[in-house]
Amino acid sequence: MKYRLLYFASLCDAAGRAEETVSSDARDVHALYAELASRHGFTFAPERLRVAVNGEFTDWSCPLADDDEVAFLPPVSGG
């Protein structure tokens, strides 16, 4: 399956890019994060991140479909 990934803040720095499209065998967000964390050296434990799929918050067990846009959101610091 193909997924579009969005990276923000320190995940963007770690990945060296703000977005990318990847081909992956992962079928849910948890598996996809494990794969990307390994590839890009992400150090956040999943419980410190929120997940968004197609522009809306979801949970870590969310199943994925081809062409989904996925973002792993590190702890926010607006304001």
Binding site: L6, S10, C12, D13, A52, E56, L73, G78, G79
Partner: protein
């Protein structure tokens, strides 16, 4: 209305959006770039947002606030990009018939925005270093 702005925040224009007949109280909050944080001298900030989801979540907060408090209008804008010391990073305002609701609503909006909306701050220090802030839940301010 919640929005993300790459341009400097025009507080006067935003406050005008709070006007309505029967409004007796207006409360506004400005969050500005400080020259220090946790003991380190800061000389600039950058904010990054997941703009689409930030606006969705910000407007959800505003809807919640309308449901919780007897307010007329609520406006909140958060800057993104590079900000100098003293610039307004976030502005929130609420208008209501009575002041208790205006204070409560303004504070609820800014508290929730800081906790929930996908926006990140990078601090640039006087010594040349910089870092993204990813506060632990119990340290969020």
């Amino acid at each position: 209305m919640f929005s993300i702005s790459a341009a400097p925040i025009d507080a006067m224009a935003l406050q005008c959006e709070l006007e309505a007949t029967g409004v007796g109280a207006v409360v506004c909050f400005e969050g500005r770039v400080r020259d220090h944080n946790e003991g380190r001298a800061v000389n600039a900030l950058s904010y990054q947002a997941y703009a689409e989801l930030a606006e969705t979540e910000g407007n959800r907060i505003i809807e919640e606030t309308h449901a919780k408090f007897a307010v007329e209008h609520i406006v909140c804008v958060h800057r993104v990009g590079d900000l100098a010391l003293g610039e307004v990073a976030v502005w929130a305002g609420a208008s209501a018939e009575h002041r208790a609701a205006a204070f409560d609503a303004c504070r609820y909006v800014i508290d929730q925005v800081k906790m929930r909306v996908p926006i990140w701050k990078r601090e640039h220090y006087v010594d040349g270093a910089s870092t993204w802030l990813h506060p632990e839940p119990d340290r969020a301010k």
